[in-house]
């Protein structure tokens, strides 16, 4: 479906996109952003579901099960941690904004 030259284009454009996103980020957001990108590659869950979904033998099912287990951990854990981290930026912004008053 996605083959040859088209795949190379996708790889290249996605590569530039990632570069572009990071290059203008203030240092304070490096950790949340690393955590956020950690969450985004949790999309591996989708592939793991397919891998388990197409499994036929018991061995394949075991490995596929591990894949989904780990992928779900990546996605959910990445989300929870990033959420909590970004949560903390809210009060501090308010305080710094409201300092003049």
């Amino acid at each position: 479906m996605i083959e040859g030259l088209a795949a190379i284009y996708i790889f290249m454009l996605a590569g530039f996109t990632g570069y572009e996103i990071i290059s203008k980020v203030p240092v304070i957001l490096h950790t949340p952003l690393m955590s956020g990108s950690n969450f985004v590659h949790g999309i591996v869950l989708v592939g793991a579901m397919v891998a388990l979904g197409i499994a036929e033998t018991t061995t394949e099912q075991i490995i596929g099960f591990i894949a989904v287990l780990l992928g779900a951990g990546n996605a959910v854990g990445g989300y929870v941690v990033t959420e909590r981290m970004l949560e903390m930026f809210k009060p501090s912004e308010k305080k710094s904004n409201g300092e003049g008053s």
Partner: protein, 476 residues
């Protein structure tokens, strides 16, 4: 149905990119994670409709297994992610990242096992994995397998090190030579998978890659951990992108490669901040043998100060610069420090925070903690902005930071830290160091700042010491 699924993946990929983009500004960051989260839910739900899954002979068993695995993996991650203390987040990121790498490696394992099984039963009798998958899929699949596996075992080691479960930085003599050999052998087995249909080769390959990940990460010094975690994050992204190609899944390709390139850039920025190359991080091993050999730069004695005196000194200062480090995170002292800051500010002292790019265990780690305590952004300065200002500083308060203020990085060419940019706390009129004990920093290198004439040591737990400082400053 297939079109709908593809559309869902496309929307998910767009949501990931927009989400990450929004996460790059403090104002929109919170919305960013919500968008990315929505993309993830959409993609996951769509996958349940995937024809490959529904057409499988064992569709009902497999779907039940998928649901159980999601419930277990997601449930555990949700629980651990909610429970973990803010200070321990770096190791949790390392662990979740390792899980992603492991998932990518396991996907590759399923595909490779399937292909080798088919090849073995092929009528020609000489069919290989590459024949079954096609050259492009086989190569990217194997590459994703090796990268994902290394990221998996490496991240687990990084987690264990940061969590204090693993302290050794040496496994074997001549570790780097062995690592290099192991890497060559692993690559050899990777190539062998391509040209054969042997299941044993695949098993040996995975075992070797697992061991390689462990061996690579164990010698890495604590101070370099942020770089390593970021690198493994990028590697997992790459592995996910490659496995996305294997499965023909556009969302995985786009999200994986975006993370791969963003993570690579972030890794380079971090390594640059420490004046080290990424290769150097892996092969130098700060804090192993070299550190012991050069720990002689610090003669003299440490001079102690009591909290009472330190508090008075700071209350009458014209400018105080606070330099937080990982020790502050461990002691959870950020709230007390902010309280102290407010008291000093009331007394007319100009207070600033100086953040080294790699203070803590991840870039921006300290900023996150200070934000949690409520310190406004405009009091926080980056290294470049504050270094010239130390000359006008009455008291530099170092709390839990060590290597990032070690002047040996500038003066002593034999020091393993030599060349790393540091905060020039030593230029201040007085330096007060809050420290738990007399030991060395995480890198294992002696800090000559602690022996300087204008340095006073305030021994004790960060939070307790900060409380005492608050008391002392309040009484005036």
């Amino acid at each position: 149905m297939d079109t709908l699924i593809q559309a869902a993946y496309l929307i998910a990929a767009a949501l990931f990119i927009l989400g990450l983009k929004q996460m790059s500004s403090p104002v929109t960051a919170r919305r960013g994670i919500l968008w990315a989260g929505a993309g993830m839910v959409l993609a996951t739900l769509a996958t349940f409709m995937a024809p490959q899954i529904l057409d499988s002979d064992q569709v009902s068993t497999n779907i039940i297994l998928i649901l159980i695995a999601i419930a277990l993996g997601g449930g555990y991650a949700c629980y651990s992610g909610k429970k973990v203390a803010i200070t321990d987040m770096p190791q949790m990121i390392a662990m979740y990242n390792g899980m992603g790498g492991g998932a990518a490696a396991a996907i590759a394992a399923v595909e490779l096992l399937k292909a080798s099984n088919e090849a073995a039963h092929d009528v020609t009798g000489t069919a290989t994995v590459a024949d079954m998958l096609g050259a492009d899929v086989a190569i990217l699949g194997i590459l994703g397998a090796i990268i994902g596996t290394i990221s998996f075992s490496g991240s687990i080691i990084a987690w264990a090190k940061l969590d204090g479960r693993l302290n050794r930085s040496k496994l074997l003599p001549m570790q780097h030579v062995i690592n290099a050999l192991l890497a060559v052998v692993t690559a050899g087995f990777a190539a062998a998978i391509y040209f054969t249909n042997s299941i044993d080769t695949i098993i040996v390959f995975y075992v070797l890659a697992l061991v390689l990940g462990i061996f690579i990460t164990v010698p890495v010094g604590g101070a370099d951990m942020p770089v390593i975690i970021s690198l493994f994050n990028a590697l997992t992204g790459l592995a996910v992108g490659f496995e996305g190609y294997v499965l023909g899944n556009a969302a995985m390709i786009i999200a994986g490669i975006v993370v791969g390139s963003a993570g690579s850039l972030l890794t380079q920025l971090m390594a640059k901040a420490m004046n080290r190359s990424v290769a150097n991080v892996f092969f130098a091993g700060v804090g192993t043998d070299t550190a012991v050999a050069s720990g002689n730069g610090s003669e003299g004695v440490m001079k102690e100060i009591q909290a009472q005196d330190a508090g008075i000194l700071m209350a009458f200062a014209s400018q105080v610069v606070i330099i937080p480090g990982y020790g502050m995170a461990v002691a959870q002292a950020q709230h007390k420090i902010w309280e102290l800051t407010q008291i000093l500010t009331e007394k007319g002292v100009s207070v600033k925070f100086a953040i080294h790019p790699v203070a803590g265990r991840m870039p921006g780690h300290m900023n996150v903690l200070l934000a949690e305590a409520g310190v406004p952004y405009d009091m926080i300065y980056d290294m470049e902005d504050i270094n010239a200002d130390f000359k006008n500083t009455t008291v530099a308060l170092v709390i839990g930071a060590n290597d990032v203020v070690n002047p040996s990085a500038k003066t002593d060419s034999s020091s393993p830290l030599f060349g790393m940019p540091i905060l020039d706390a030593i230029d201040s009129e007085n330096i007060i160091v809050i420290k738990r004990g007399r030991g060395t920093g995480f890198s294992g290198v002696e800090n000559s700042l602690f022996f300087a004439d204008n340095t006073k040591m305030l021994f004790g737990d960060g939070q307790k010491a900060a409380s005492e400082l608050i008391q002392a400053a309040k009484e005036l």
